[in-house]
C-alpha cells in the first residue's frame, strides 16, 4: 500500500461518515500510511463540516493530513486526476445513490468492471 492515500467524503458528514473516517484513519495508520488527503465534496456552507470532523481531526496525532474542500460538481474531475496520478482512493459517503455513483465512477476510471 502507498504511504499516501486520498480519502474522499461525498455529501453530508453524518455520524456514519465520522465513524467510517475514524476506522479508516486507524486502519491506514496501522498499514503504514503517513499522509492522508481528505477531500470533502459538499454543497453545504464552507467549513460547515468541521464541527462534525473536529473530533476525528483532533484524535489524529500521527498521520499528516491535508483537508481540501470541493464543490460536489467537481467529483468526476478530481477523481480522474487522482486515478491518472495513480493515487489510492477510498470513498466514504452516507448518501445513496451518491456513494454508489461515485464508487462506480471510480471503478470505471480505473478500468474495473462495475
Amino acid at each position: 500500500m502507498s504511504d499516501h492515500v486520498e480519502l474522499i467524503i461525498v455529501g453530508e458528514v453524518t455520524d456514519n461518515v465520522k465513524k467510517a473516517l475514524f476506522e479508516n484513519f486507524n486502519a491506514l495508520r496501522s498499514k503504514g500510511v503517513k499522509k492522508v488527503n481528505l477531500r470533502i465534496f459538499t454543497q453545504s456552507a464552507p467549513l460547515k463540516y468541521i464541527e462534525e470532523l473536529r473530533e476525528v481531526l483532533l484524535a489524529n496525532m500521527i498521520t499528516s493530513v491535508r483537508l481540501y474542500e470541493h464543490d460536489l460538481s467537481e467529483v468526476s474531475g478530481v477523481l480522474e486526476q487522482m486515478v491518472r496520478g495513480g493515487k489510492e482512493v477510498v470513498v466514504i459517503s452516507d448518501e445513496e445513490p451518491l456513494r454508489s455513483q461515485v464508487q462506480s465512477m471510480l471503478n470505471s476510471l480505473k478500468g474495473e468492471k462495475p
Partner: protein, 504 residues
C-alpha cells in the same frame, strides 16, 4: 514591497518591556486600569524600521520567515501598526498566535471568572476586522494561520469563515510552509487545514536558524520532551537538541541586532543534550557558558522540577549554572515550571514520568525540594497547576492545596490553570463548561494569597528594580493594591459566587 507578510496582533508583537512574565497580563481583561494603559504595561509597541519591519518578533514566526527567505520569497515580518500599507500589495498573509481566541489557560479562566473578554483575543479580533485587511481579502489576499494555537480555529469555524482564513496549519511548519505559500502565490487550490504528522516534522538539519532578532532574545535549544505527560502535545514530537553551532548562530543574529538579554527555550533546559531524564552536566554547562558569552542576562523558558532536584542533588548543577549566570549584570533568573497536581494518585494517571528519575510516589516531595533549591539559588519560578483534569477527585485537589501550603516559604508565583485538552486528551470537550468546584476555589484562593505574599518582594528586589523601571513598578504596585482592595472581602464574595453558581 513584500509578497509574503507575517504578522500577529499587538499582544504577541511586543517584548513586554523585556519582561516576559508581564505578557501574562495580556491573557486577562483590563482590570482596575483603562485598557490602553493595561496594554502599555503588558504589550508596549515594538520598534520598527521605516517600512514597518519589527525589531523583534515571536521566535516561531522568525523560523517561518527564515524558511521562506531561504526559499527565495520576498517576505517580511511586519508590525500590526504598519500592516495596512503592506496588505495593499502582499499576496499572502501568515498569522501566528499563542492564544487566538483566549481559549487557553489562563485566558479562559480570566474570561470565566471576570466575564470579560481578555485583551489578547480582543486585540486579535481588532487586527482581523480592520478595513484594510477586509479590502485586501476581497482583492484576493490569501491568509494562512498557524502557530501553537492553530487548533483553536477548529472550535471557531464561524471566525475562520468570516475572516477569510484560507488555511490553518497545525504543527511544526518548516517542511510544509514553502509548498503552501508557493500554491497561494500561484493561485493553486489550498488545503483548508493541514496537520503536520510525524513524517513531516523537520529533522534537526531541516530546522533553519533565525535571520532576525527574536522577542526577548529567545533561542530554542531543544524541541520535544521525553516525559510523555498525557495532557501535553509537545511530548508527541521527537526529541531534537540543537547543536552548539546552531545555537551560536542564533545568538549572533540576536546580538548583531541589538539584543543583550535572552531566554533559553526548551521544555526542560536542564535536560539539554540528554536522551533520557538524566541531566548531562557537561552539555548544560557548555550551553550556559556559550549563551552567557553573548547575553548579559539570561533566563530559562521551562525546566522540570524533577530535573532541578536531580541536577542539584547529584551534580550540584544548579549551583554551577548559577555561578555562570549570576554576575554583575544579574542576580536571579526566572523559569516556568509545572507542578500540575499535588496528588500522587492523579500524577500516576496523567504524568507517570514527570517525577523521573524519582518514583512518582515522591512527586510532592520532588516539588518541594526543587522549590527549595530554586529559592536558595535565586531562581524565581512561575509555576502552573492544572485544575479540572479528567478523573480528578475532591481529594486530589485538596492534596494540591496542602502542597501549596508547603510551598509558602519559597519565592515564587503559582498560577492555577483549568485543564485544556491537549496531547492524548485533546478530543475531550471542555467547552460545555468548566465546572469550578469548592475545592478548586480553595486552591485558587491559596494561589492568590501566595502571589500577594511574594509579589512585592519579587518586583522590588528582583524583577523590576532600579530607577529605569520605576514607572512600570509603580503601575504594577497600583494594580496589586487594586487586587488587594478587591479581594479584601474575598470569603464573603466566594460565598455569594457559590450561591449564584448553585442557584437553579
Amino acid at each position: 514591497m513584500f509578497d509574503v507578510v507575517l504578522t500577529t496582533d499587538r499582544t504577541m508583537m511586543t517584548n513586554h518591556h523585556g519582561k516576559e512574565f508581564l505578557g501574562f497580563m495580556a491573557t486577562g481583561p483590563a482590570l482596575g486600569l483603562p485598557e490602553p494603559i493595561w496594554l502599555w504595561v503588558c504589550a508596549p509597541k515594538m520598534k520598527t524600521d521605516d517600512v514597518g519591519r519589527v525589531w523583534q518578533a515571536p521566535y516561531g514566526m522568525r523560523k517561518v520567515e527564515a524558511v521562506l527567505m531561504d526559499a527565495g520569497f520576498k517576505v517580511a515580518t511586519i508590525d500590526p501598526d504598519h500592516l495596512d500599507r503592506h496588505v495593499k500589495h502582499a499576496k499572502v498573509l501568515l498569522l501566528s498566535h499563542h492564544d487566538y481566541f483566549a481559549l487557553c489557560p489562563p485566558s479562559s479562566e480570566w474570561w470565566s471568572i471576570t466575564r470579560k473578554e481578555p485583551v489578547n483575543a480582543k486585540s486579535f479580533r481588532r487586527l482581523m476586522e480592520r478595513p484594510s485587511l477586509r479590502e485586501a481579502k476581497r482583492r484576493g489576499l490569501k491568509i494562512i494561520a498557524g502557530g501553537p494555537a492553530a487548533w483553536q480555529w477548529l472550535w471557531k469555524v464561524d471566525k475562520w469563515v468570516e475572516w477569510g482564513v484560507d488555511t490553518v496549519v497545525d504543527g511544526e511548519a518548516e517542511k510544509v510552509v514553502v509548498d503552501l505559500v508557493s500554491k497561494a502565490l500561484n493561485d493553486e487550490p489550498l488545503p483548508r487545514y493541514v496537520y503536520v504528522g510525524v513524517d513531516e516534522v523537520p529533522k534537526l538539519e531541516e530546522i533553519p536558524t533565525i535571520k532576525h532578532a527574536s522577542i526577548n532574545g529567545l533561542i530554542e535549544v531543544t524541541r520535544g520532551c521525553p516525559r510523555n505527560c498525557r495532557f501535553c502535545s509537545v511530548t508527541l514530537r521527537p526529541l531534537r537538541h540543537y547543536t552548539f553551532d546552531m545555537i551560536e548562530q542564533e545568538l549572533k543574529v540576536n546580538v548583531s541586532e541589538g539584543i543583550t538579554e535572552g531566554i533559553i527555550h526548551s521544555e526542560d533546559v536542564l535536560l539539554y543534550g540528554s536522551r533520557s531524564v538524566e541531566p548531562e552536566p557537561d552539555a548544560v554547562i557548555k550551553l550556559h557558558k556559550l549563551v552567557k558569552s553573548y547575553y548579559k542576562k539570561i533566563s530559562w523558558s521551562h525546566a522540570s522540577l524533577s530535573a532541578i532536584k536531580r541536577a542539584e542533588e547529584k551534580y550540584k548543577l544548579v549551583t554551577k549554572v548559577g555561578e555562570i549566570i549570576c554576575d554583575d549584570n544579574q542576580d536571579y533568573w526566572g523559569v516556568e515550571v509545572g507542578i500540575e497536581t499535588g496528588s500522587v494518585k492523579l500524577a500516576k494517571k496523567i504524568m507517570p514520568a514527570k517525577s523521573a528519575p524519582y518514583p512518582v510516589e515522591m512527586w510532592p516531595q520532588v516539588v518541594e525540594d526543587s522549590f527549595a533549591i530554586m529559592h536558595e539559588n535565586h531562581i524565581i519560578p512561575a509555576a502552573t497547576l492544572i485544575l479540572g483534569l479528567p478523573e480528578e477527585t475532591e481529594d486530589d485537589v485538596m492534596k494540591t492545596a496542602e502542597l501549596l501550603d508547603r510551598l509558602r516559604p519559597y519565592r515564587s508565583l503559582i498560577v492555577p490553570m483549568f485543564f485544556v485538552p491537549m496531547g492524548y486528551f485533546k478530543t475531550h470537550d471542555w467547552f460545555t463548561r468548566v465546572k469550578i468546584r469548592d475545592e478548586h476555589v480553595e486552591v485558587m484562593k491559596r494561589c492568590l494569597d501566595h502571589a500577594l505574599y511574594w509579589a512585592n518582594d519579587i518586583m522590588s528586589k528582583f524583577y523590576l528594580k532600579g530607577p529605569s523601571r520605576a514607572p512600570l513598578r509603580w503601575m504594577l504596585r497600583l494594580f496589586l493594591a487594586y487586587v488587594k482592595w478587591r479581594t479584601r472581602n474575598i470569603d464573603k464574595k466566594i460565598e455569594e459566587w457559590k450561591a449564584r453558581r448553585d442557584s437553579p
